[in-house]
């Protein structure tokens, strides 16, 4: 099969991560990096030996990508995805699918109308620890699942224009980060019936965000999801699934397969502990390989754009609950074409 040409829009953190993934894939040509910050685009493009762009039309005209990979801030997803779809490019787009359900539905519609695929990068489904946990539940080994606990977070993210602090753009830790766990839990336990949440939103969200979300699934499973951007540093995830026949625990801190401490040198500070959980193929690369294979074979992806829409719906319900102080009941009918 001939190589597929990919261009990445957005040379921030995820643009770097995705470009690393593509560079390791034999059947993909990374044909361009676009960022409205010319220097950022040039830096990433140079490191991956590809072309830098600042203009979408120019990129499409000159690089002729088959796939546009969207790594821009959440609130800009729609405009980039619509442009990519109208150019006939398949789309891989970072999570969350969008900041609003309206935008998400418009993106799904635009890609359908253009006859291109839309994949949303809910990478947690490609992390082996989460995949193993999902399969353990699916095998029935847990018995009847009762209570699930998920935790994700660390320091407040820093990014272009500090867009994470803007609730209208990022949707707080609940939309940006906890959506990973909402998607994972939906994958394991099906649809959510009721959402109740508490967070820093509306209190004093000054680069210190923390949230607790209580989910009740239609099948009766209850889940506690904790998301934080309140730690002074670091990043960690935790998962616990308790059932009538067994319990599964995962803590990223304990899964560090190696941990190093280095003496101070001219270039580094002393005593910084570097924990690692190394994998031959990163979960990000695994995810991108899967999407590329789906484009080539036409198979249904492990996570669909509709799944991403449903995860966003849970995040937004949690935000609403924080703001109203009341639980939010989700309805089965909230599919993408119910407007």
């Amino acid at each position: 099969m001939s190589s597929l040409k990919v261009a990445i829009i957005g040379a921030g953190t995820m643009g770097w991560v995705h470009s690393d993934g593509y560079r390791n894939m034999a059947d993909v040509d990374l044909v361009g990096i676009l960022d409205i910050r010319a220097d950022a685009a040039r830096r990433l493009a140079a490191s991956k030996d590809t072309a830098a762009f600042t203009d979408m039309d120019e990129l499409i005209r000159e690089a002729r990508p088959d796939i546009i990979d969207v790594c821009v801030p959440t609130y800009l997803h729609r405009q980039v995805v619509e442009a990519a779809a109208s150019a006939g490019c398949h789309v891989i787009c970072e999570k969350p699918i969008a900041r609003t359900l309206e935008d998400a539905r418009a993106m799904i519609r635009a890609c359908r109308a253009a006859g291109v695929q839309l994949y949303i990068a809910h990478v947690v489904r490609f992390f082996p620890e989460y995949r193993r946990a999902h399969d353990w539940v699916a095998s029935g080994a847990a018995g009847r699942v009762g209570v699930v606990r998920a935790m994700r977070g660390g320091a407040f993210p820093t990014a272009w224009e500090d867009w994470y602090v803007n609730v209208a753009k990022s949707g707080t830790v609940i939309v940006d980060s906890m959506i990973h766990d909402f998607d994972f839990l939906r994958w394991c336990f099906g649809e959510v019936h009721r959402v109740f949440a508490k967070s820093q939103l509306g209190r004093d969200l000054m680069k210190l965000d923390h949230a607790f979300v209580s989910l009740r699934f239609r099948n009766g499973v209850m889940a506690h999801v904790e998301g934080t951007w309140a730690y002074p540093k670091g990043f960690q995830t935790e998962l616990e699934i308790a059932g009538s026949q067994g319990l599964l625990e995962f803590r990223s801190g304990r899964a560090a397969a190696l941990s190093s401490q280095f003496r101070q040198t001219e270039h580094t500070a002393a005593g910084v502990e570097v924990p690692e959980s190394p994998l031959r193929i990163s979960p990000y690369q695994r995810e991108l390989e899967h999407f590329v294979q789906c484009i080539q074979s036409g198979e249904k992806p492990l996570v669909t754009a509709e799944d991403a829409l449903k995860a966003l719906e849970i995040s937004l319900a949690a935000l609403t609950s924080v703001q109203t102080g009341a639980p939010v009941v989700l309805h089965e009918t909230a599919g993408y074409d119910q407007e």
Partner: protein, 331 residues
Amino acid sequence: MTKQPLGIGILSFAHMHAYAYADVLKQLPNVRIQAVADTDEERGRKAQAQYGGDFCVDYQRLLQREDIDAVIVCSENARHAEMVLAAAEAGKHVLCEKPIATTVNDAQRMIDACEQHQVTLQIAFPVRFSTPLCRLKQTVEEGRLGRIVAIRGTNHGQNPGGWFVDPVLSGGGAVMDHTVHVVDIMRWLSESEVREVYAEVDTRFYDIETDDCGLLMLEFENGVFASHDPSWSRPRAYPTWGDVTLEVIGTGGVTQVDALAQHLDVYSDRDGGYQHAFFGDSMDAALILDFVDCVQTGRMPSISGVDGLRALEVALAAYESAQSGRPVRLR
């Protein structure tokens, strides 16, 4: 003249914590277990043989003894009230197992009676005496966490069976059993009262009449928000009975506490596979020492009946919220 030893009576061994408390009391030089009362005669006589003193089936007889200064009430939750009321009337100081009672009305009557008869009423929240949690309290008081933003708690366990799963005697399952410790700690740390409670409560692990799992979401009067998981969700294969964990998120940092983290991992083909062997300080010992000191010096109890009542209110509100599907406003 030598000082008279402090005379203690134990009212019921229905709650297994009675054994832990009696073990500590037995070690203390200035304290004597004078009598044990238990409606379960076999259980009571066994305890008497283990800890000394006299045995009686009727706790009223125990309360009439002049050589008893204080009693420890470890009966079924729903029987706390009658025993504590009788003890107060008999002028005995009281250490009452948690939860203080199964209804707000009972709890209030217990508090009023002890006040009226000028006896100490302390509620057995030993977690306040856990050395790691005391260190957390110190960290908060020193201001190192800044202002508290949120607190996450868990107090997981296993189904204790017996009267714990009889709603008439226990007043509720996991949520009744495992909410009050951590809510008490959250009140202690935040120095604020719970204003509102939302909860999911259900029975999903065992075939029992009470609940066995729940998730609580709390809002304190000072704006701190919190969550708590009191579920009996540990399987039999778990290496210990459960956990007590707390995470405090502050403007100045984050502290995570695992009250049972000080353990050895023991893998034994002889004794039940993988087990935790706890080596930290005993919180039960610290609780009993505190109670004894409180009675001997006449000072105010470290953990009052009102503390017990406030924690009970939250557990009861959790049940109410789960019933209605709405948050319950306490104040």
